[in-house]
Symmetry: C2
Subunit: 302 residues, 2 copies
C-alpha cells in the first residue's frame, strides 16, 4: 500500500468500522448496532456504534472518529512539539460479553498527523478473560503473532512486551488480562514504511472479528452459574479500575473534553467491588489470579 | 484545646474512629464492623474497619491511619518543599446504603506534619444523594454550617465553595452530590489557631454520625422499587468515576503504593453503566440531574 493522505486513512478506517460491525452482528446472531453521529466543537466528529439486544454480547461499542483542530497543549508539552494543527482518526472497540466464560476484548487502531509533518500510528489488541484458559490465550497470541510477522519480524515481541507494560493495573500488581499487543508513535521513515504500518493496522483490525468471533462462538457454549457471574462482576470492576485510573487514552480524552459517552462506552454494564475478596485455593479463579502477570510466554504455554 | 503533638493527634483520631463505628452500629441496628490492622512497609500503618451484615448500610468503611517516613517526591515536588520526613494521620469514611433513598456519605479529617515544622490540616464532609431532596440538602448544610460557625465565621462559605469545586465530575459537567465542605492545607499561625483547627476537625467528625444517623433512620423508611434501584446503580457508577478519575486523595494513594484495599473501600458494592442514559422529563431522576450543580445555596433552598 502506498502513502495515503489523512483523509484517505479516515475513509479506510470508517469502512473498517462498517466491516467489523457487520461481522460482529453475524457472530452474535441477534444483536444490532445503533449509531450516534456527533460533532466536535473544535473540529471533526465521529460515529459511535453501540451494540444492543445481543445474544452473546451484553454491552460494547465500535467507535470511529476523525477529529482535527489546534493540537491540545497537553500533547504539545508532553512531546515537546511546536504549535500546529492536528488530525487524528481511529477505530476503537470494547466488548463485554454476557457469559463470564467469554473474554472481554479491546482493539484500537489510530493515526495522528500534524500540519508540520509530524505523524504516527498507534494501536493494539488485548484479551481480558474473566477466566484465563491457557489454550485460549495461546491461540489468541498465535493469531496476533501471525499478523505481526507478515509485516515485521520484530513487531510481535516488541509490541507484546509493550502490551504487558501498558495493560497493567499497578495498584493491584496485576495485568488487565492475558495481554496481546500495543504500539504507539510508530513513525514511518519513508512511503514504503508508511504503507507497511497502515496495512499492518488494517490486518490487525481484520483479525479482530475473526479471532473474537471464534471465542464468542466457542466459549458461549460453556455452562456457568452464579459463582462465575459473581466473579465476572468483580473482574469487570478491575476493568473499570484500569480504564479510569491507568488507561492513557481514557485519561487524555476525559481531560481534554472528549465526548464522554464515547470514551466511556468501554465501561462494563455492571461491576462489583468487595473488600479483600479472596479466591479459593485450587479454584479457576485462583488460576486466573495467578496468571495476571507480565512476561508470560503464552505462545509456548501448556 | 492547646497545641498537640502529632502522636497525640493520632491517638485522638483513633478514638474518634472508635466513637464513629459505635454510633454507626447503633444507627444501623444489625451490622458490625470488622477490623484489619495493617503496616506500611515504609513506616506506620492503620486500622481499616469494614461494615458487614448491615440492615441499612450495604458497604463501607471507617479507616484510621497514621503513617510516616520520607516525604514522597510527589508531595515535595508539587508543593516545592525541601526533603524531610513526614507524619500523616486521619480518619476516612465512605458509606453506601442499601436503599437508594438514603444518601451516600463521605467524611475525612487528616493532619500532616513534616520534621521541618511544615504542618497542615485537611478534611471535609459531603453528601451524595441518589435522589436529591431539597429539604435534606438544606438540613445537611445547616448542620455543617453550625459546626463551622462555632470556630470561624468564614469557614462555611469558603469551605462550601471549595467542596463544590473539589467534588466535581468534570467530564460529566456535574457535581458528585449536594456538596458540603472541603478544606486542605490549613496551617495554624500560632498554638491557639492550632487548637481551634484541631477542635473544628473533631466537631466535624462528631457531627458525622449524628447527621448521617438522621438520614439513615428517616430515609430508610421511604419505599422504593426496581426503578429506584437501577438509578442507584447508575449514580454509584458516577461515584466510581469521581473517585477513580478526579479524587486527588485516591489518585495520590494509588500512585504512591498506598494500601489499595483501604483506599478502594470507597467503591460501591455494585455499579452500572449505560450508554447515553436519559432521565424522564419531570421525574425525580431529572430533578436530581438538574441539581448536580456548583453554587447552589442549599441553606435558602425551598
Amino acid at each position: 500500500m502506498s502513502r495515503k493522505s489523512k483523509e484517505e486513512i479516515a475513509e479506510i478506517y470508517k469502512k473498517m468500522q462498517d466491516h467489523i460491525c457487520r461481522e460482529l452482528e453475524i457472530a452474535d446472531g441477534t444483536g444490532l448496532f445503533t449509531e450516534d453521529q456527533w460533532e466536535r466543537p473544535a473540529g471533526g466528529g465521529g460515529r459511535t456504534r453501540i451494540f444492543k439486544g445481543g445474544n452473546i454480547l451484553e454491552k460494547g461499542g465500535v467507535a470511529f472518529s476523525a477529529v482535527h483542530g489546534p493540537t491540545p497543549d497537553k500533547i504539545l508539552n508532553k512531546l515537546k512539539l511546536e504549535k500546529a494543527d492536528f488530525f487524528a482518526t481511529g477505530v476503537s472497540i470494547v466488548l463485554h460479553p454476557k457469559s463470564p466464560m467469554v473474554p472481554i476484548i479491546h482493539m484500537n487502531i489510530r493515526y495522528f498527523e500534524m500540519d508540520n509533518g509530524v505523524h504516527w500510528f498507534g494501536g493494539g489488541i488485548d484479551l481480558t478473560p474473566h477466566y484465563i484458559d491457557g489454550a485460549d490465550a495461546k491461540h489468541f497470541h498465535q493469531e496476533v503473532k501471525k499478523v505481526c510477522d507478515q509485516y515485521d519480524s520484530t513487531y510481535y515481541s516488541k509490541f507484546k512486551d509493550w502490551a504487558d507494560e501498558y495493560f497493567y493495573i499497578k495498584h493491584r500488581n496485576e495485568t488487565r488480562g492475558v495481554g496481546g499487543i500495543f504500539y504507539d508513535q510508530l513513525t514511518a521513515k519513508d512511503d514504503a514504511e508508511f504503507g507497511k504500518i497502515l496495512e499492518f493496522s488494517l490486518s490487525l483490525a481484520r483479525l479482530f472479528p475473526k479471532v473474537y468471533g471464534f471465542f464468542m462462538n466457542k466459549n458461549s457454549q460453556i455452562p456457568y452459574g452464579e459463582n462465575e457471574k459473581s466473579w465476572q462482576r468483580l473482574r469487570r470492576g478491575r476493568y473499570v479500575e484500569f480504564n479510569l485510573v491507568w488507561d492513557a487514552g481514557t485519561k487524555f480524552g476525559l481531560d481534554t473534553n472528549g465526548r464522554t459517552e464515547s470514551i466511556l462506552m468501554s465501561m462494563p454494564p455492571q461491576a462489583d467491588w468487595e473488600y479483600m475478596h479472596e479466591v479459593a485455593p485450587g479454584s479457576a479463579e485462583e488460576f486466573t489470579q495467578n496468571h495476571l502477570k507480565k512476561g508470560i510466554d503464552w505462545l509456548s504455554f501448556d
